[in-house]
Symmetry: C2
Subunit: 364 residues, 2 copies
């Protein structure tokens, strides 16, 4: 994971950014930021994992049973481990070496741990933006990993559309697709292939519903491969598309093209969202606009900046964003089209090649 | 999910416990506690979901795109939704209706949201224990759901041991097993089937390693079915067990029996851990004792109380605990045996029936 851009350089980036922000140090706690700095993605559950970066140096704090997995972490990070007799907080405080003004990933560290640090006289400040400013600009190596994840997902989408038949059961189809993605090396996956009216809920859960003639199928697949996520959505109909499905697909395709076209250096997250929202909301007779244009993607499946109306973050070169407008008609179905897009100096670059077409499946 | 014990009764339990703790209200934010109170398990990502319980009433706060999934939530909970133009915090504050002293799930709510509430003049106190005091004592209906999840996992363990052959690839085996668990209705799964020296790391990741003659196989499977988790571990060897594998298995089996025997009302979490730790640590020539005796299980795969040396929580009737001692020899392998155990008035009750035997697989 750290071949191109050394983890030492990444820790150094955190240290410099912390200094510029007037902080004595930073505690990094999210899985993905720890992976960014150490090459090791923890399985946290209730246990504490952290990377501590101060002016004096850096440490990685892990439960004793995970020390064996730190083989790729840079030697400059001191290994600090704690046994089941500790909750790790004393070891974390010790790793700070007495510094007082410390940044944290404010959207990850929980209230109990923040309070415990504050009770040790440590003053906490939000530093998530500081960490994400580094993580957001992907290296060429990271972009290739996301492209590879997209390639595996494209194959899975083609296969599922080639195989789907009326009578297929939603959760069995999803299980099969996730299994295939894992057989291709995915370490984590989300399959959200929803049939008919279930597709009207963008976060619906696959259930026992069988595929029927006339259904729309909304297939949203994501997979984490070699540490990086890809996330694509394509749609199909069983038999010829209804008038609703055809028109909704056309609107969503145009909205996606407009939002992708907006993915340029300096354009704000809000403006990218607006590019799709204007078109989707204008088609309100076809359904609802239930979410933003998308989100950044990389070590995490959802990363800032989030492409929603309230976010004014300007896009930067090397950001990778999902662009995924949708139209959702309760009781009928949903259409969404999603690609992963690099913000390049020469404009947006799409990391997948699979057609956006509304696939027509065989009816029974 | 809420058939036996109404969600209204559960909200009422939170309200009474909050009052007894001198709190004006409680904000519940974890997936599982929200599921406990509403029958709906959110897909949170970066979005805010919460159940607010105050003296005046209750609300469930969700993104607009998830309102459609609240069909099972009790009518007494007011539905509060927010659009992509909001981060939901204003709606959450409004749902509190002006109360000032509020409990939170301190191991779930993040620093940024806690700070935002505090900046509105709301005083936050840890209330995780209050919520878990209710969730920890499982109803008969919940226990049956965990038993059913264990049954599905047992079948998967039997099948994987019946099929495993030298040359099988670790991550393919894990993918296949997860797929089968999902085909049996699991909505979430973890398969951790590790071969040979990989099994020496209790949180190792399945990789490209092929199964070889002489390997130990440590198969830890968990699955969430109908909202409740089961979690079991069994071991095998390819060909006859080595002297190390046979002796480690005997120690771990005795340690598991001792810890299960300790699962009685009033015994502390620390004491359950000690029952296995004494035996495992006495066999240090066979490997390391890398973790505690286990953890509670239910709506979450890992719930408090955690059975580790620092936790003095006394066990109560209806708690369901994993008991999973292990011995880990670096470079050689690991042996772990895990069952899910109900703390009953008449003593511990094991929710699975599959043999603890060290399975001998065919060698090539």
């Amino acid at each position: 994971m750290l071949a191109e851009q050394g983890a030492d350089a990444r820790s150094l980036g955190i240290r410099e950014a912390a200094k510029a922000a007037g902080l004595d140090g930073v505690i990094v706690t999210s899985d993905e930021s720890i992976a960014y700095l150490t090459g090791f993605r923890p399985m946290q559950l209730e246990r504490l994992f952290a990377v501590v970066v101060t002016e004096a140096g850096g440490s990685v704090v892990v439960p004793a049973l995970d020390v064996g997995q730190l083989t790729d972490a840079p030697p400059s990070l001191e290994r600090v481990s704690y046994t089941a007799a500790s909750d790790g907080m004393a070891e974390l405080v010790a790793a700070l070496g007495g510094v007082r003004s410390v940044g944290v990933e404010e959207d990850h560290i929980v209230f109990a741990r923040a309070k415990a640090l504050e009770q040790q006289g440590i003053s906490l400040a939000p530093a998530g933006a500081l960490v994400f400013a580094l993580r957001a600009r992907k290296s060429a190596d990271e972009i290739e990993k996301i492209r590879r994840a997209c390639g595996v997902i494209e194959d899975a989408l083609r296969q599922v559309f080639a195989e789907l038949r009326p009578g297929d059961v939603e959760w069995e189809v999803n299980a099969r697709v996730e299994s295939r993605l894992r057989e291709q090396g995915a370490t984590d996956t989300h399959a959200l292939i929803l049939f008919g009216e279930n597709a009207a809920n963008p976060h619906g859960q696959p259930g026992p519903r069988e595929l029927r003639n006339g259904d729309v199928v909304c297939a949203d697949l994501s997979a984490c491969i070699d540490g990086y996520w890809g996330d694509l959505t394509r749609c199909a109909t069983v038999g010829p598309p209804t008038e609703w499905a055809r028109r909704a697909w056309e609107v969503v395709r145009e909205a996606q093209a407009a939002a992708i076209e907006a993915c340029r250096v300096g354009v704000t997250a809000r403006e990218v969202d607006l590019a799709q929202r204007t078109l989707v909301e204008a088609a309100s007779e076809l359904g609802q606009c239930l979410h933003g244009a998308g989100h950044a993607i990389g070590l995490a499946i959802h990363e800032p900046p989030f492409l929603v109306p309230r976010i004014e973050t300007p896009l930067e070169e090397g950001m990778v964003l999902t662009i995924e407008p949708g139209l959702y008609q309760p009781g009928i179905g949903g259409i969404r089209l999603e690609d992963d897009v690099v913000v390049g100096v020469d404009g947006p670059q799409i990391l997948s090649t699979i057609s956006l077409d509304l696939v027509e499946l065989s009816s029974s």
